[in-house]
C-alpha cells in the first residue's frame, strides 16, 4: 500500500519573504496516527491547511511536494486537486463553536459531505449519519439532527464534527487541536472517541496539538516542530523515553505534572532557544526569499 500522506521538503513563505515552513518532510502510513507538536506559531496548523488546500491567500508554497496516496497534488489542476482532497481527506477542526454553521440544522450539515463526495442522499445518507452518530455515542440522534448548533454543548458539537469527518470514509483526517477548546473531562472522552473511530475505520490521522500528554495517548509517531522546521521525528514511545533534541527534552520537562504542578512548570531554557535560533539561521543561510 502506498504512503497515505507524504510531504517532501515543503517550504512556504509570507509575501514579505518570511518563511513559515522550512523544508518540512513527514509521512503518514495508512491507519497511522502521526502527531505534530510545537508551540503556537510553529507552523503545525499551517501544515494541516497546506495538505487540505486551504492555506490563507497570503501564504505561498515555494518548494516541495505533497502526495496523498501517491498522487502528487502539485501535478493536478485545481479542480482535480479539490476532488482528490475532498474524497481522501477530512478535517476535525479546533473550535466546535465556529465549525458548524449557526443557521443550519445539524442533519443537513452532516450530510453535506456525503452528498458531495459519495453522491449519497436521502435515506442512504441518513442511515449512514445515524450509524456514525451511534459510533460517537450520541444516544438521541433524532434530537441532535434536528438541532441548531447553539442548542448543543461543546462536547456534543465536537462529537458531531468527528462523526461528520469519518462519514465519507476519508483515508486521512487532519485533526487540528480537536480537544483544545474543550474542558479537561470532555477532552478525555473526545480523545478516546477519536482513537476508537480511528482504529475501527483504519483511518490515518495527522494530529496537530501542543499537548504532549495527548501525543502520548493517541499517536504512534511524532514530529516536533519549531519555527516551521521539524527538529525531531520519532516513534512516540521512543521520543518520550529518549528525546534526542534539546528542544524536545525541554518540552517534555515543561509539561506540568499533577503531583507537583508548580515546580514542574519550567519555561524552555534560554540556551535551548539560542541553539534553535542558530539552527534556523543555518537552515535559512542558503535560502533566497521569493525564489521558486
Amino acid at each position: 500500500m502506498s504512503v497515505c500522506l507524504d510531504i517532501r521538503g515543503l517550504s512556504a513563505e509570507l509575501p514579505n519573504g518570511q518563511r513559515v515552513l522550512r523544508s518540512v518532510s513527514l509521512s503518514v502510513q495508512p491507519g497511522e496516527v502521526r502527531a505534530l507538536v510545537g508551540e503556537s506559531g510553529a507552523g503545525k496548523t499551517m501544515i494541516g491547511k497546506a495538505v487540505l488546500g486551504v492555506l490563507p491567500k497570503s501564504v505561498r508554497i515555494v518548494e516541495g511536494d505533497m502526495l496523498i496516496e501517491g498522487e502528487d497534488l502539485g501535478r493536478l489542476d485545481a479542480k482535480a486537486r479539490r476532488t482528490l482532497i475532498g474524497a481522501r481527506t477530512a478535517l476535525i477542526p479546533q473550535d466546535p463553536l465556529t465549525a458548524l454553521n449557526p443557521s443550519r440544522r445539524i442533519g443537513p450539515q452532516m450530510t453535506d459531505r456525503l452528498v458531495r463526495i459519495l453522491g449519497w442522499r436521502g435515506e442512504r445518507a441518513d442511515t449512514r449519519i445515524r450509524q456514525l452518530l451511534d459510533e460517537v455515542q450520541i444516544r438521541d440522534p433524532e434530537r441532535v439532527l434536528k438541532s441548531y448548533p447553539h442548542e448543543l454543548s461543546g462536547g456534543m458539537r465536537q462529537r458531531v464534527l468527528i462523526a461528520a469527518a469519518f462519514a465519507a470514509e476519508p483515508r486521512l483526517i487532519v485533526a487540528d487541536e480537536p480537544t483544545t477548546a474543550l474542558d479537561v473531562t470532555v477532552q478525555k472522552q473526545i480523545l478516546r472517541l477519536i482513537a476508537q473511530l480511528q482504529r475501527d475505520h483504519g483511518t490515518a490521522i495527522l494530529f496537530v496539538t501542543h499537548d504532549l500528554g495527548v501525543v502520548a495517548k493517541i499517536s504512534q509517531k511524532v514530529s516536533v516542530l519549531y519555527a516551521g522546521k521539524v527538529v525531531e521525528e520519532a516513534e512516540t514511545a521512543q521520543l518520550f523515553a529518549a528525546p534526542q533534541h534539546p528542544y524536545t527534552r525541554a518540552l517534555i520537562a515543561a509539561t506540568p505534572r499533577y503531583t507537583d504542578p508548580y515546580a514542574s512548570l519550567k519555561p524552555v531554557d534560554e540556551s535551548v532557544l539560542a541553539g534553535l535560533t542558530a539552527e534556523i539561521a543555518a537552515a535559512d543561510k542558503d535560502w533566497r526569499p521569493g525564489h521558486g
Partner: protein
Amino acid sequence: MDDARVARRGLSPRLWLAGGWLVLALLATIFAPLIAPQDPLAQDLMLERLPPFWLDGAEPGYWLGTDSLGRDLLSRLIFGGRIAFIVAFAAATSACLLGSALGLIAGYFGGWADRIISRVVDVWMAFPPVLFAILLVAVLGTGLSSVILAIAIIDWTRFCRVIRAEAMSQARMDYVESARIAGYGRIGIMLREVLPNVLPSVVALLSLEMGIAVIVEAILSFVNLSISTDDPTWGGIIAEGRLSIHQAWWVLVFPLITLILTVLSFSQFGEALKARFDPVLR
C-alpha cells in the same frame, strides 16, 4: 437561555404594534376605493378647511377635515398611501437585491471584486442622497417608475456595505473552510453557508429601507418631483398643508403623523424580524 427568552418576550409587543400599524395601513390602501369615505380628488369650495371630527364646525363623513380646496383629508391620506407603499416595496426590494448581491460578492470573494465594488460604493456615497434623488428624477423625468428607480439606484449602497462586512466575517469561519475541503464550489458555499447567516441583516435592512423609501418619496413629492400632481401623495399633502398651517393645522399634522408612524413601524418591524430570524436569539 433565560435571558434570550426574556428578550424575546420584550420584543414581541414591538413586533405586534409595528406590524399591526403596517398591516392596517396596507389593507386600507389596497382597499382604498371601498374604505375611503370620499373621492380624494373631489373639490368642494363650500366645504373648505373643515376641522377634524372632534372640533366645532366638523362635518360628518369628513373625519379628519378637509384641505383648502375642500378635499377630504382622510381619503387623500388613504389614497396617498398607495404610492407610498408601492414605492416602499418596489424601491426597497430593488435596492436590496442589487446591494445585497454585490455586498455578498465583495465580502466573500474579496480581492479585485471587493476592490472594485467598494470603490464604487465610496464614490456613490459621496453624493448627498436627497440631492442625488432630485437630480436623478429631474433627469429620468417624473413618474412612479422614475421615483422607484432613483431610490434603488441611490440606496443599494446601504445594503452593500453592511452585507459586505458580514460576508467578510463569514468567509473566515471554519464551516466555510470545511465546505471547501469537501470540494464545494465557491458560489455554492456563498449561497449555502454565507447567505443564511447574513439573511437576518438583509431582512432588517429591507424593512428599514422601506421606511426610508417612504420618506424619500415624500420628499420628492414635497418638491413636486414625484408623480403627477393630481394624485394625492403624503409629501404632496404635507406641502399643501404647510401653506395653510395657520388656518388648517390638520392638513399638515395628520400626514406627518401617518408618515412618522409608518417609517417608525418599518424600522421597528425590521429589528424585531431580525431577532426572530436569528437562530441563536430565537
